[in-house]
């Protein structure tokens, strides 16, 4: 994870590159940063500063056809898997740092409806509890079959 590794190199894409929407042809990506994996991101990266942050379980973008348009647009992103990822205490600390150090505006956790995915919401809640600043925290649950949003609520 050194700076020379392209897989984890911090990049802040120009906002203009991701603008515009063309429903008929190829769509624009709404991703405006790199990296995105929660172990790889620095919670103090410029692209998190005062932003609305989306914390998505790894599987979520594959389940939702319009993930970019409906959920990623206008947000900074971190992804993780609460079932398989190791060292999840680091995740909790990073969430707390996002809230306290980068002063993020809101945090939205998107998880799949499978029970183990609730772990990611738990991580988000623990991080928010650990932070001294308070922000609104939202949970969106995505159905495995049919890729529908099953629920959306402020926690």
């Amino acid at each position: 994870m050194s700076d020379c590794c392209p897989g984890s190199k911090t990049m802040d894409f120009n906002e203009d590159d991701a603008q515009g929407e063309d429903e008929t042809g190829a769509r624009q990506s709404q991703l405006k940063q790199w990296p995105i994996q929660l172990h790889l991101v620095s919670p103090q990266a410029p692209y998190f500063q005062e932003k609305d942050v989306l914390l998505a379980a790894d599987c979520v973008p594959f389940a939702l056809a319009d993930f970019h348009k409906d959920h990623l647009k206008g947000k900074s992103l971190a992804i993780g898997c609460p079932k398989l990822d190791s060292d999840q205490e680091i995740y909790v600390d990073k969430i707390a740092s996002l809230i306290d150090d980068s002063k993020i505006n809101t945090l939205t956790v998107m998880i799949m409806q499978v029970p183990c995915c609730m772990g990611l919401s738990q991580i988000a809640k623990s991080g928010a509890d650990k932070a001294t600043r308070k922000i609104p925290l939202k949970q969106i649950v995505v159905g495995v079959e049919g890729g529908q949003v099953l629920s959306e609520e402020w926690l």
């Binding site: 609305d52 809101t106 939202k138 402020w154």
Partner: protein
């Protein structure tokens, strides 16, 4: 039906009282509202009914207004529709929670009014302490967050927001009258305006909790929800933690005082 949608609800109900009864049945209490200058389309839209319920309501209203028309009935099983619990964002949840303390004051008003009526002289300190709660907590602390912050996220010229402002002003007028009554020892004036305030705020809070707040939130982006939270928190910080705590203690003490007297 389109023509009806752009009419004032009061006019439609006057023309056909059954419409008022139907709205009541669907939890939309327009009939008792004295203002009634909302458009029918806004009245239905603002309540965020699920599409099926809305279709059924519209069908029934059309039937009531034009009994001779052949309108196909939408098929919905009303018993299957469960009322969903409203999920507020944290800043708005705080406003709803503040209503709870205000409602505890409202619940005490009949007892206080009776107490005033039955005592030999008017307990001016008691009345003025209640007025202090209403002015300091309900109005300054709570209504100001609504007026200066929350309501600014929607068009302030919209009918429903204008009605909320009018309610706040009418409330202030009742309070002025209560103070006047206390100064002059006028029991009837105190009683009338305490009850007036109670009736007004009971309806006002219900409208906000169930209709207005969810309606505003539905129009807000996550970015605005975060901003609203920070702005309300800053407003709370500026008055300090002591103020809401002091007023909560005031209500607890008042509840105890009247529990003992009864």
């Amino acid at each position: 039906m389109e023509k009806i949608m752009s009419k004032d609800i009061r006019a439609v109900i006057d023309q056909c009282p059954e419409v008022g009864r139907l709205l009541e049945e669907y939890g939309i209490g327009c009939a008792p509202c004295s203002v009634g200058s909302c458009l029918v389309s806004d009245v239905v839209g603002i309540h965020g009914l699920d599409p099926q319920t809305e279709a059924t309501l519209m069908y029934k209203m059309e039937k009531a207004l034009y009994p001779d028309r052949d309108v196909p009935e939408p098929k919905v099983d009303l018993s299957k529709i469960v009322p969903k619990e409203i999920n507020y964002s944290p800043a708005v949840k705080n406003l709803v929670d503040e209503h709870v303390l205000i409602k505890r004051m409202l619940a005490l008003i009949p007892t206080i009014a009776d107490f005033v009526e039955n005592s030999e002289t008017v307990d001016k300190d008691l009345i003025l302490s209640c007025v202090d709660f209403i002015r300091g907590y309900a109005d300054k602390f709570h209504h100001m967050k609504e007026e200066d912050i929350f309501f600014k996220y929607v068009d302030e010229q919209s009918e429903i927001i204008k009605i909320m402002y009018e309610d706040h002003d009418t409330g202030r007028n009742h309070v002025r009258n209560v103070v006047e009554g206390a100064e002059n020892g006028n029991k009837a004036q105190i009683k009338e305006h305490l009850h007036g305030y109670r009736d007004l705020l009971t309806q006002h809070i219900k409208k906000e909790d169930e209709i207005l707040y969810p309606w505003i939130e539905r129009q807000m982006t996550d970015n605005q929800i975060g901003e609203l939270f920070q702005r309300c928190s800053a407003a709370d910080d500026s008055v300090g933690e002591e103020l809401p705590r002091r007023y909560e203690k005031f209500i607890i003490d008042l509840e105890e005082k009247f529990a003992k007297e009864n």
